[in-house]
Symmetry: C2
Amino acid sequence: MKNTINNKPHRRYNILTGEWVLVSPHRTKRPWQGKKDQKSELQKETYDASCYLCPTNERASGDVNPDYKGTYAFTNDFAALLPDVESETYDNGLLKAETEMGICKVVCFSPNHALTLPLMEVEEITNVVKLWKQEYKELGGNPAINHVQIFENKGAIMGCSNPHPHGQIWSQSSIPQEVLKKQQHQKEYWDTNKRSLLQDYLKQELELKERILVENEHFVALIPYWAVWPYEAMIVPRKHYQDISQLNETEEIAFASIIKKLTIMFDNLFETSFPYSSGIHQRPTDGEAHEEWHFHMSFYPPLLRSAEVKKFMVGYEMFANPQRDITAESAAENLRKLSEIHYSEQ
Amino acid sequence: MKNTINNKPHRRYNILTGEWVLVSPHRTKRPWQGKKDQKSELQKETYDASCYLCPTNERASGDVNPDYKGTYAFTNDFAALLPDVESETYDNGLLKAETEMGICKVVCFSPNHALTLPLMEVEEITNVVKLWKQEYKELGGNPAINHVQIFENKGAIMGCSNPHPHGQIWSQSSIPQEVLKKQQHQKEYWDTNKRSLLQDYLKQELELKERILVENEHFVALIPYWAVWPYEAMIVPRKHYQDISQLNETEEIAFASIIKKLTIMFDNLFETSFPYSSGIHQRPTDGEAHEEWHFHMSFYPPLLRSAEVKKFMVGYEMFANPQRDITAESAAENLRKLSEIHYSEQ
Ligand SMILES: O=P(O)(O)O[C@H]1O[C@H](CO)[C@@H](O)[C@H](O)[C@H]1O
Ligand SMILES: O=P(O)(O)O[C@H]1O[C@H](CO)[C@@H](O)[C@H](O)[C@H]1O
């Protein structure tokens, strides 16, 4: 089927959330007089005495980090969710609330303060994947925890208060709304077709090729057709796995390897330590089988034009609809043509 | 009904969108080591030769602004939506898109480069309200335009590329998803109760008082129970009006006056030109009666702790659920106790 609408203002449908994104491909040429952020530089010091994530340093809670050599996870000292909250509801006319229990953890990817995922060895990233698996199983195994959200905020522009390589896990009793949206659409498709929505989508993308970024035997990284953020990307396993705990040793390495390749592309695009929020969406831990779920990892990077100019999701986007200027196809093209070697090592 | 859950981690329900917000009231004390933005200062020059919105200046398109004395609206030179787009759909397996037509306008609030809404006279703001009404009617009168989104991005931190007091209007053929969500929940309530959801909500808030910011004969400004942004606020007309075109002359002035009072509160909070995105949600212009709609104007300001530290909607918020630290009640209290006179005039 010939696609003739890619150069016109159009809306694209997100099969996972049921939402639309407005695409304005003609608009990239507008001049930018607005805010510029500081270029995000790579860290140089492998240890920072004032960093609360470096080994042997003291944290705000008074706890001292062990002299860890690989990964290290601990309960967030300023957790948004707390484990001991009695269940209580408030239902007063049009006001409705309920208590929420949960456990928030911080996950250090490496003792080396200067690293980031694209600069880590595949073996080191594999250890991060192993830790994610373990935390997903442990936290999710708690009968009060029905959802485990693994994510990373990278870069000051993404609200990350510390450059030390780390991510977070917020696990909780209710299932968050973004997860519910994706669950609903995957379930509708599964119930109708008895096939995975994302596996079918992957098949189509692999035939069309124009949005594929990089692939290996077990995983594919691509810019989804409905991407909202300029360089939004998604890592999808070829197998219909519901969650990361199903990955075997070889697949763990393949996952680590594609994370490294994708994040190197990101860093190389504007020769900066590319900021993003990433997150893994997978089967809730509510005890249901959730055959419909096909786990995937998404990256939402804000940069649009350069290391200093980001896309602002404001005004129209907040009140009406997400909107993007460059198409998913040209974003994929921009990323695909970059070197596979990190710019700092070229 | 006694409310005992406000000091515990909890979720609140948004009656307009059907979504939830996670509230972590215990978390405000965490130290901030992250990004600080520049404090947003008031402008001093009433005319800026390099500003493309000041009277008599040339714009990027080559057009020259008239020597306007009050408000001034023109078609956006870098419009995200274009009027002449043939209708076309793309439907290829799991890829689905459709063209979108629309008209984007820029609305200058004043010829004076140094002003902002809180610094303008009520009569001047009333003229902005009159212009919004006129544009809503004119654009909405176009049979191809089914929705008119009026909004303002204020401040560099909100992606606003020019401090000249102005807003935007994006009007288009389809109804954006944020609007559809609110429409659905208002309609369900209307169909069941034959009463306006927001009018009933307003009644309850006026009894409880704790989230009310300021009121006059025709409008109430409050922090909604389900607020997501730290100082998110909402202006609601007491009458069940579907859109701003129904306002009479007295009500226009009352609307202008409450906008001024609310934005003065905002500026006074951190003694800064308070950044926000604001928008008016009202009846779509698709020719339906939409009796369920109760128009309102919302403000989404990002600042949390000071003029420099904002709330980042990243990671968990993007992948799971919006989350806030201070409660709507304490935000309302912080705003309510401020002087009614703008800090620059005290
Ligand atoms: O149109 P402007 O002011 O250049 O652009 C700003 O507002 C638009 C509408 O909210 C957003 O899409 C842009 O990301 C933002 O930078
Ligand atoms: O927990 P941190 O890193 O201090 O905080 C950051 O991530 C959180 C989870 O995405 C957000 O709620 C905060 O707004 C952000 O600043």
